[in-house]
Symmetry: C2
Subunit: 328 residues, 2 copies
Amino acid sequence: MATNEKTSKSYLDLVNECDNFPYPQTDPGLYDARLDGLYTLLVAEEESTLGFVLPRVAEVLRGLPSWTLNDDDGTLTLSAGPSEDERSAIVAATTMAMRQTGHFAVLSGWRDELYPVYGRDGKCLFKIERSASPLFGVVSYGVHMTCYTKDAVTGEYRFWTPKRALTKQTYPGMLDNTVAGGLAAGEKPLEAVVREGEEEASLPADLIRERAKAVGNVSYFLIRDEKAGGETGLMQPESQYVYDMELPDDVVPKPNDSEVESFALLSTEEVKVSLRRGEFKPNCALVMLDFFIRHGILTPENEPDYVEIIARLHRRFEFPTVKYPGSQ
Amino acid sequence: MATNEKTSKSYLDLVNECDNFPYPQTDPGLYDARLDGLYTLLVAEEESTLGFVLPRVAEVLRGLPSWTLNDDDGTLTLSAGPSEDERSAIVAATTMAMRQTGHFAVLSGWRDELYPVYGRDGKCLFKIERSASPLFGVVSYGVHMTCYTKDAVTGEYRFWTPKRALTKQTYPGMLDNTVAGGLAAGEKPLEAVVREGEEEASLPADLIRERAKAVGNVSYFLIRDEKAGGETGLMQPESQYVYDMELPDDVVPKPNDSEVESFALLSTEEVKVSLRRGEFKPNCALVMLDFFIRHGILTPENEPDYVEIIARLHRRFEFPTVKYPGSQ
């Protein structure tokens, strides 16, 4: 039927939509051009590149104490310090002032939740309000868990798949991973999975602690579009800790807050159809592909872009990443 | 005891030893300096960068028909063609002539086995003798399978671990993955696992076809040192299809050719100790780390470099990679 016809995406298309910041090794011209149009975020006395900032964001900070905009080398430097607390206080004051101007739509989703930004050797340089991270283009961390059942005889998988509430600011009505959420400063990944599993899917904490299995990390560099909410073109490098949890037949995830509309237990074929129709939230599609690869559902023989997809699901960033998350 | 004392390596050290070509996004200065000292391998009328070649190798081709060395832009171009067969014939003649000079130690390991080199859209541009691939710095493909047992009660893993024969040209006496080998032109990855499983570990083909599970790909960019055999400093980007196979207790891998000295069934702890002592062949250490990550043995809570290691095990290359291996 004509009404059911939707464009069928390849799995590599899904990766391209979420990991869409150019790569210097494959597209040096595109990469350099993109970087020429961005400010590099630095902290004084630290060498690492911490994020990429759009000129229309950086301009707002020009002339503010503790911030230095250098147009010659394209850097935006935070010179508050020398302690993490001092830097975090300046960043808090700056982001709250930015919020009060009402200029930045993305800050209307203010969360009162702090995300850490790491320098070399895993040192936390400062914390920043979650909704402001894409304005500074810093790496944010999260957890994604896929809950599934596996038929003992046929080996067939089924996936507990939530549909996001239509009232959500970001990606309303799209399909999600069973449990997913951001990793706040000081929180350990497994604890975040336990918390989100209770909050979003009514899964008992004990069950998660017993059965959730750490199985890797999916990382990608997204340039945000309108579906992400707020202004477009913001930079969002993300690192998601990935967990699998096989559920017994009698455990049924249920919505527990306003984030999720409903859960459905989808077959592998149904998930594939939804992926190709673009019904999954973009980064959740990547976590599903990672599951398919680790569990032998996608193979070198049935997926032409197998090698490319796997490399793209595990992007190495320009920025330092965390060591021992939650320990600080 | 003093005689047992060896340097203890971190898991990230093991990654750094195998994936040691600089990254443009984290070390742009080092990367550019490295590239300035290399020729970029091209095929006429094709846009893709196919490999990196040392000047002392490229010089040998200067003035040869079908090869063009351009010192201005640092390129080495193969202009034979327009068909794959014609290009492969020129490459064969060139590499055989290089072998006859006796100049290149790496060619003393001549295998009479052809490896494919891919352009954009997965098109095979030419084939090249296996032992010559690092002279041209092109991507080579292989398969690595980890055979393990898992205790039904404790969940403990044990790993079937071969020790390489002391007579091997490369990495003699080091520990390996249960089954590993190169992927020749026209061979499908699963077929290579079946062939190598029989040849190296005496595992029945039917058992492998039934139980081997495709679980991903590990890719890294090695600058060869003396342990790899032949001249040092050659470029070796590699893409390894990874398989897991759980074995019943009564299946015991046995050496079947001169490549393997013996097999031992090591506990997770024993494998960890051997890894930290540097006893594994470098790329096999990476495949073990990938197993540890996918099976929840390494976690964000027990491994500080978790995020960095995962990104590094799945490198995206400067070069196009295969689509549907073995189909051509």
